[in-house]
Symmetry: C2
Subunit: 338 residues, 2 copies
């Protein structure tokens, strides 16, 4: 049987309220009493019952993070880092983190509704935003506190942090064009994902800026995994007139493209240039190392968590819509057109 406030109060022959006050460190308790309470609580091994606290405070002190599309064999190095950033920041502010992985095919909106309606968390973190994101629309409608990693096409305003994929792709393209590339292919992530649109827009914008035509056949919309990149890469590179450079919508796919290129006997960085987006840790150690656009993913996790915490505590909203610029990291997988 756990020790309760009542137990401590009885032992000291004071009221339960006094014990509560002393422990909560609120004014209105004689210093001497406070000390006695603290000592007794310590000695008796008192620990608050958090569920009771939460019921009474009507707050859960818990943040929710729902990870989408997370089935068997879905292992994104990217998410663990994001999770670490979020988790560590939450812990620092004494918040619990409730993580839900949504099995593929499960009704995801229902999960959001449950979490919101049953008040399991005080606020939510939404990642991988979509064009018409039903989750975001729902949270806005419910006026439920949340912060998104990524923008959306919805009209309503909401707090988000995003990385400027369009600017990133423009910079990467400019670099490749400067290296002499003219036939640059692009392996896109699914276009219902918002970030995929911005990146593709950057690709197209850069083309027109360089006076190059937009060639539909050089753009393929894949999935998100290394396997998807592999397949797209194979297809591109076996053509009669293959592209001299291939950009993938994320590093995982870029690694897949690299794998395909190497399997076909091509020297990546010389025969064909390959670049990605994210800068996951394997990008640096791939062979050759991968040119990419870095998203400081751990810091992003920290940051969106922090934004949500501010929202919940009503602290200075400052800027509630942040746009970060990704950093171009040129490595060995790209070079002058051979």
């Amino acid at each position: 049987m756990p020790v309760t406030l009542q137990d401590v109060a009885d032992r000291l022959s004071v009221s339960i309220a006094t014990v509560s006050r002393a422990l909560a460190d609120v004014p209105g308790v004689a210093p001497a009493t406070r000390l006695r309470v603290l000592a007794a609580a310590e000695e008796m091994g008192y620990h608050p019952n958090v569920m009771a606290q939460r019921l009474q405070k009507r707050r859960t002190d818990t943040l929710g993070f729902i990870i989408p599309t997370f089935g068997p064999r879905f292992s994104d190095p990217y998410f663990s880092e994001l999770l670490a950033g979020i988790g560590n920041e939450a812990a620092e502010h004494e918040y619990d983190l409730l993580v839900s992985t949504r099995a593929p095919g499960t009704e995801e909106l229902a999960l959001y509704e449950r979490v919101v309606k049953e008040r399991r968390v005080d606020g939510l973190l939404v990642v991988r935003t979509r064009r018409q994101d039903a989750r975001i629309a729902y949270l806005i409608e419910q006026q439920f506190p949340f912060v998104a990693f990524g923008r959306s096409d919805l009209e309503g305003d909401f707090p988000y942090l995003d990385v400027d994929g369009q600017a990133g792709l423009e910079e990467l393209m400019a670099y490749l064009v400067a290296q002499g590339h003219r036939r640059i292919a692009y392996v896109s992530a699914p276009l219902n994902l918002m970030f995929a649109n911005y990146r593709l827009a950057g690709y197209r914008e850069a083309l027109s800026r360089a006076g190059l035509p937009y060639d539909e056949s050089l753009v393929v919309t894949g999935g998100l995994t290394d396997m998807d990149g592999y397949e797209a890469g194979r297809e591109f590179l076996q053509r009669a007139n293959p592209p001299t450079a291939i950009i993938a919508g994320n590093d995982l796919m870029a690694l897949g493209v690299m794998s395909a290129a190497q399997e076909l006997g091509l020297r990546v960085g010389r025969d064909v240039s390959i670049a990605g987006f994210d800068d996951i840790s394997l990008a640096e150690l791939a062979h050759p190392s991968l040119t990419t656009l870095r998203q400081p993913i751990y810091q992003i996790g920290q940051r969106i968590c922090d934004m949500l915490l501010c929202l919940l505590n009503g602290t200075a909203p400052e800027v509630s819509q942040v746009l970060l610029k990704p950093e171009l990291i040129v490595r060995q997988s790209t070079g002058r057109v051979g």
Copy 2:
């Protein structure tokens, strides 16, 4: 203001108890009444307050998963899959999942104590077990429900699921020896980790079984990351008399070793054989693809979660100590000694 049981009861002019019963689907309510309650609850948008339920039931319906050593740039493809397995299984049984990432250097035992003492979760999942695992010792002492992924050197008995790393390494070694390898190096994970010991034991056992001497200089204890593997690989391969095969304690390190080998101009699979352990998704797509020992990590996540759930519900314990055999997956990174 959320709708409460009281609100529904008032509307129907019945008692709050009746509403509670009807909603909980317990016997003792007239079918007609139940229907009326259900309809009213639905219409009024009633959702239970889970904190109140938890306080009263004295259960949290929450499982805890504390991820160790999780700082910036620590991205293990392995963990996201484990998390997915655990999370999906927990969700299936209506349990919430509380994830704590422990910032490096933070007192981890304190975290366990807090979670246990403040009853934030009903049970815990412990991963990456250590020789004298203080966490496990603590949980046993507190008689707190938990299941470990991995064994320990502690004397007490506790429920666990583990993959037989020793058997795995013996099989892998036998295969390499059969390919003609005699100088086989081993890059170990830190030896305070239990799994590292078993794997090393398998390596040594296989050597003696093959009549080969144990050469200390061929074993190096590294960390866990691809970078650690890279460094160890570089060191091994630049020697006057380098090993013809290198096994790494996990795939991430094996990929690092491969990177080092390729940087030195070696053809992996021909000039030098390299193998890992885990079979993360990148193992298959590495170039060349990586020979490894597969741990069905998603299923392991599901399974340990399930074991914990059984423990909590007092359901048939069946076997509470499970040992799985890893599967040897031979790919292109290993071959006959060149």
